[in-house]
């Protein structure tokens, strides 16, 4: 999301407009999406919280769960987003600024509402967490080891982790199965794979090889290259349980 429209970039850069929020929300709901995630990508770089007006408009039309991410850095902001009708809130940069935020959100709303998004890529033989990735000018390597951060956010009360593998993002060459597998090994809460989906086989591989609980994708669906219903039929034929 940026300026009220849905945008998508490649490796977190060069975002272009994909379409209207409500039209896309309806389209994906009708196509059989199990959950939608909305990232207000410039909220944290611009030091503001997400705009609740569009959250409420989305809630009016959606009857599946949706998660909102974008600059939520206080319990009060989270309460406004949840009160507007979101099922979950996802925190990323603000949780890196102040990890205690995760504890506060989990205590107030329960772990099931609290998703921690982690933007990560390979560095120094391991993986590092990145921050402010919505703004190419401010994005930075925090030097924090991804696996340590994964353990910490769970201890603090994260109910779900979305791992955005930055090097794979938007390039449709497949999920980063190695990195997701490494995170899975220290992640006891639901783990969502993000970044890299290009074909139906990529989804089957990430479920089978990395053991993730869910796979998130944007580019392949926005472009119309993959249709959710046929993707689900394909996965079912591979013996992976999915909601029809």
């Amino acid at each position: 999301m940026r300026d009220g429209q849905v945008v998508k970039g490649v490796r977190f850069r060069d975002h272009r407009v994909v379409g209207d929020i409500l039209a896309l929300a309806r389209r994906y709901r009708d196509a059989g999406a199990d959950e939608l995630v909305f990232y207000d990508i410039t909220a944290s770089p611009e030091n503001r919280s997400v705009d609740c007006a569009w959250v409420s408009r989305v809630a009016e039309v959606l009857d599946i769960p949706f998660c909102v991410a974008g600059g939520v850095s206080t319990v009060a902001q989270a309460e406004a987003v949840l009160g507007a009708g979101a099922e979950k809130i996802s925190v990323n940069s603000p949780a890196l600024e102040r990890p205690q935020l995760i504890d506060e959100l989990a205590r107030r709303f329960g772990a099931q509402c609290v998703v921690v998004g982690i933007d990560s890529q390979a560095a120094d033989g391991g993986y590092h967490v990145h921050q402010y990735t919505g703004d190419a000018g401010r994005a930075r390597d925090t030097r924090r080891a991804t696996l340590e951060w994964v353990r910490e956010v769970q201890q603090r009360g994260a109910g779900e982790i979305v791992l955005n593998c930055m090097a794979a993002d938007g390039v449709r060459a497949g999920y980063d199965v190695d990195q997701l597998g490494a995170v899975r090994a220290c992640c006891d809460v639901p783990l969502v794979a993000s970044g890299g989906a290009g074909t139906a086989e990529h989804f089957a591989t990430v479920f089978a090889a990395a053991g993730v609980d869910a796979a998130l994708a944007a580019s392949v669906f926005h472009s119309g290259e993959l249709e959710i219903r046929s993707l689900k039929s394909f996965l079912r034929a591979q013996g992976i349980e999915v909601r029809p």
Binding site: E60, D63, L82, G85, F109, Q112, V189, P190
Partner: protein
């Protein structure tokens, strides 16, 4: 007293918006209230609940609603925590419930590969006919988010499986409950709400 088709009991959860929007999409008029007189006069009552059981019961007690709810003869639907509150007791905060359905709500045991909360889409299987599930095929998916669950008992009309069967749809007289979130469960969830509105 109220022209609404359904009164949603304000049990203090942050998220009543999605439920209100779901009713709107079905063309139903709803009001959110914690007034005993409004609840008592409602054609139908929804008892939602997000948060902790002890807090929700304390709010019902503070609003003077416990006796009102227990005395209702019109259809009531408890959703998620709202369903659990219908029971006699819940392990969550060792809380006494409304006592409308016999039994104790217990914590779901966590296991490897089966984290708690039980969160996400899962199937429901009917044990017996229930008009709340009219038009819904066996094995339909609904959206669940919960850490505590009611045992399968004489009041259970459908179950879901998460390391064993858990009560998913319950019915005792005019008191109904669903452990899943119908307002988040797509077309099938909308059908459950519509069935309730047609009672």
């Amino acid at each position: 007293m109220s022209l609404a088709d359904v009164v949603i009991i304000d049990s203090g959860g942050a998220n009543l918006a999605s439920l209100r929007f779901a009713l709107e999409r079905l063309g139903a008029r709803s009001v959110v209230s914690a007034e005993p007189a409004v609840v008592a006069a409602a054609a139908r009552v929804l008892l939602p609940g997000v948060g902790a059981a002890a807090d929700a019961m304390a709010r019902l007690a503070a609003a003077g609603l416990i006796g009102t709810v227990r005395a209702l003869s019109q259809p009531l639907l408890g959703i998620c925590l709202g369903m659990q509150l219908l029971y006699e007791h819940t392990e969550e905060g060792a809380t006494t419930g409304l006592g409308l359905i016999p039994g104790t709500v217990r914590r779901i045991p966590a296991a490897a590969g089966r984290p708690v909360p039980h969160m996400g889409w899962n199937t429901c299987h009917a044990l017996r006919p229930d008009s709340l599930l009219a038009g819904i095929k066996d094995g339909e998916y609904f959206y669940f988010v919960h850490s505590y669950a009611a045992p399968v008992s004489a009041s259970t009309s459908a179950t879901t499986d998460y390391g064993g069967p858990l009560a998913a749809v319950v019915e005792r007289g005019n008191f109904h409950g669903v452990q899943f979130h119908p307002e988040r469960s797509g077309t099938a969830g909308a059908r459950v709400l519509r069935n309730f509105l047609e009672f």
